[in-house]
Point group: C2
């Protein structure tokens, strides 16, 4: 698919078996959900069984980069290519209905299917490492010592192209049954968000080093 | 393993290939990590490829229950049993080192391997549904209409026993190299936590219905 298309092409496995109205293939929506997070859950198959591990990722355009040491299992399995499913989820609210059955969560998620490949080009590896750092704290890669040759050699990065992708979003209030509307239970949504606390300097940091601006906007 | 053992028995696949010092099999630690969350990432294999979906879960003792409609893929595949990997992750902090290489995340995660089975016993199904609701908001199952026969029939719940389980924890400050300690970059940890906002009543809720106490302690 051309990268300037506004939507990803649905495939058999990116069309959900339930709640299809919540699915979206909109490229901007997918990017926005991915860019608000930095931890994904990466699934792969090992000895026929599923494995799901939390890991850091970064996005550059239509490519995701996933971090791992060269000793990690996904990295060792990624030559010549590892079938993966990469999932990112934000919880936005707790949905309390009058009926237990209609309790739910407001969320935004992205699921990416594809084959991950180990990055071997040195320039791409450096760009990917910057993207991984900047995904956590935008701008931070410019304010830290870049990886040296030894560190680059000890780092494995997998690339996963954004091709077979879907988003899923649930928003709004509870969907109670008409016959339940007079039940006496409180009903509504409890908003959920991520809170970033005041930065805590490391032991030994020179007190003259100020907290950088890019941390004050988190 | 006896359920009163203080630790889960490590297995070949619950011993991580890297950062082994971060791994733990302590039962109390595993329970505490599981009990602080309500969304897991459930991995399974479909047509030979991994699938990772976010979903709600609840814990009763050494059993996890995962929710799904009877039409959902994992539920349909869970008879007679579905190999799954269920992962729960809390992000506790952003670890900013002076070197890009030593950037990290403080986190607590639990990974459960096993075979999920569909719950067919009606009493167990009711208990599991209460556990799913109470995992999100402790005490809420007592303050909502229980599922009726039609809803129970439309709900599939999978059970996964806590048997092959590990936790992984990263805490503390950055681990910079000695030769980097005089670099001019700010270094430390940005704490990350979940923030619950003020409950938002659903449209049409009788204003006389007060926000329940169990929501004020979130």
């Amino acid at each position: 698919m051309p990268e300037n298309s506004t939507a990803y092409e649905p495939t058999e496995r990116t069309v959900p078996s339930r709640n299809r109205r919540r699915a979206s293939y909109d490229r901007e929506l997918v990017h926005s959900i991915l860019d608000e997070a930095y931890v994904c859950h990466l699934g792969f198959v090992r000895d026929g069984a599923p494995v799901v591990l939390p890991t850091l990722y970064g996005r550059i355009g239509e490519r995701l980069y996933v971090h791992g040491s060269t000793g990690s299992r996904p990295a060792r399995m990624a030559d010549p290519g590892l079938a993966v499913c990469l999932t990112v989820t934000h919880v936005d609210g707790l949905v309390l209905a009058r009926s237990a059955f209609h309790h739910s969560i407001n969320y935004r998620s992205v699921v990416v299917h594809g084959t991950a490949h180990q990055v071997t080009d040195p320039d791409e590896l450096r760009e990917a490492l910057d993207a991984l750092v900047d995904q956590v704290v935008p701008g931070r890669s410019y304010d830290s010592r870049p990886a040296n040759a030894k560190e680059l050699a000890a780092t494995a990065v997998l690339r996963l192209d954004l091709d077979e992708v879907s988003a899923k979003v649930r928003a709004g209030g509870p969907n109670d049954e008409p016959e339940d509307l007079d039940l006496p239970h409180w009903t509504g949504v409890v908003p959920v968000a991520t809170r970033y606390g005041a930065p805590v300097p490391a032991d030994g940091l020179d007190p003259a080093v100020a907290v950088p601006d890019y941390l004050t906007v988190l």
